[in-house]
Symmetry: C4
Subunit: 217 residues, 4 copies
């Protein structure tokens, strides 16, 4: 099957999960507010929920970008690939729940651990999807060399989210700032050379890239 609708469904689930995070903020009580000082105090008290919201949103963006990068290469999807994607999305949909646990019970060890575990599992599933794609014939033109290099690049997020999970009993969601290292670590693991760009992009999005324009003449 073509990947077009899998991508559309995935984009929808990510967009909704990311947007539902704001309901965690909207539901927060600001206490009794009568003056501007009360409101300022109430909003300062929201500092941790707002930080959790922002970090959850941005890590969802990281995982979505990983998905986009993978499916720039993947041109076909079978039942196994779809099921890996479904379980991956199940873990994404859980994020608003584990994020609300993190916000409410951040003073407890278990409260700090659940969100990092959720992210770690989702990222491991993403790594499984790439392993599936390389093994099946889902990718059109990929040299063994490129596949190995892209696979090692995918390891970066697994390692970082694993470290964030292991540190979470002490650091909580602050450990997610480790994701700032994702760029350098990706480049380190992938090696110096940029892999050649996916061959199907031009045709996949209906001819957006330059190479395709000439091909039609």
């Amino acid at each position: 099957m073509s990947t077009r609708r899998t991508e559309a469904f995935t984009d929808g689930v990510f967009a909704i999960a990311a947007t539902l995070l704001v309901l965690g903020l909207t539901d927060q009580s600001l206490g009794t507010v009568r003056t501007d000082d009360d409101l300022a105090r109430g909003l300062l008290g929201l500092a941790h929920p707002v930080f959790s919201f922002a970090i959850s949103f941005l890590i969802l963006c990281v995982m979505w970008m990983t998905h986009v990068r993978q499916f720039e290469w993947i041109v076909r999807i079978d039942d196994a690939g779809m099921w890996i994607n479904n379980v991956r999305l199940l873990l994404i949909v859980l994020v608003p729940f584990t994020s609300s646990i993190d916000t409410t019970y951040s003073d407890l060890v278990l409260g700090r651990v659940l969100l990092p575990v959720n992210f770690f599992l989702a990222i491991v599933l993403g790594w499984c999807q790439w392993a599936w794609a390389v093994r099946s014939s889902a990718i059109a033109d990929l040299t063994a060399d490129d596949a190995r290099r892209l696979g090692r690049a995918g390891l970066s997020a697994v390692l970082i989210s694993g470290a964030a999970m292991l540190l979470s009993p002490w650091l909580g969601s602050i450990g997610f700032v480790l994701f700032a290292l994702d760029g350098p670590l990706t480049r380190l693991l992938r090696g110096a050379d940029e892999p050649s760009s996916p061959p199907s992009v031009a045709s996949r999005d209906g001819g957006g890239s330059d190479g395709d324009v000439g091909g039609r003449g």
Copy 2:
């Protein structure tokens, strides 16, 4: 009419219905939580809601995959086809409601029955859509043989969801594990041969498949 926007609308409704299921978890009370033990007990008490959430999410994925498979073949849609799709989506949108009934009243017979009935009706509507597609001229190149074989394959989900519905007064949502049989039963009903792949995929998604690239030269 072309099926492009019907697919987009359907993907959106499925993505939102699947994601709204998490609100059923977020709204659950964890009781009074002061220590890690309290939180662990509260989360263990969520075991059934989490199971219902996961099973509802995955069956929505099954139904979405059925829709994708059907519309890989269907290239045109008329008013009748759109209305079948609309009623199908109406039943999908009801899932967060019947799923919350299932979570809250799983100790009552009626509480256990509603969600399986909802899934059964949605799957029957999916079967009606395929019957419509074969009868109208919605499918471009399908031999009578392939149509029969694909129709029998679609029966698998109808039979399984019917069985889950009939067993639900005793099993509740646990009966949904029957869906694990969907793959083997589909292959059994369809017969040995894989039907030929849909002809329009290459062109439908704007040229993602390899065959199309050459066709443009």
Copy 3:
């Protein structure tokens, strides 16, 4: 500008507004439920909310189908066209609110009137959009004859929703069953001949229709 993203944004808003309607059901109290009889009584008490939910969902589908039909013809959109579309979507987004008013206060005249007024205004905006499309150069190949016939067909929904609005102080949302007349009335207003089909569908969805396949050879 191309209409591709206007269509995607519109599909998203319709899908979300239609799915949010179910929250109106999920929030309903079923009273104290201890036995199956209690639950049955509670669910029977939901008969009117469920009817409102279904009717609102299906009329949103009618309005979405009108939008799809219009944009099968419209190939370009300018700022004026986008703003008509935005106000149209604003009225769509209001539907979950007016629908909840209709459910809660159906015993009051004002409670019965708001939802029909909302639908009427949204449908009038849809009619304005078609007037805009015909006047501007948004439609590629449309004879004056076809434009007139399609415009008259669009009148059907305006007339029906207007009648439902005028009858709503007495009938409430039951008046929406008038929409069952939409098909016959559309055919009556349009005249006997089906207008020729939109020219751009084949190319618009990336080549799904048959005509395009040959054009690439």
Copy 4:
């Protein structure tokens, strides 16, 4: 990477954020309602929330249209571009929260300021994206002259939202009516000539425009 999925994700986030605004209305209490007069009074009391809802919805539409206009030109996106887009969307997702603050605490200075600040930051990020696009090779065929003219046109929204922010301690969300000046100010800043239309639209949406049809023959 191609911009197709960035656009889909963005359309989804905008559609959901815009639709979630209605939850702010649905949650409002109408007080004790027994007669039509009570309901009329309750709805009149919602005048300010409804105004805030409409203004927030329409400004989200303005920002979405800016995004559409930018990505009519942008054909490729790299990591930097995606991160600017992600932060931009983070600010969009915050709108239902700041909008609810604006509705609840409009009698406090801080309550009036937050929503305008949110919009201003989102619009500044949109401006950064254009600066990124011009500097990187994200835009295929854009003369330096057109780039300058389009950049100046983008300044219009920055200036207006800045003015609305500065006036908000006194005017609150009423200051957003300044956005009605966006059209004239855009034309003033851009200069007399309309810039040439984006070259890639025809091919980007799968061949919707006329020029492309011939190109395939």
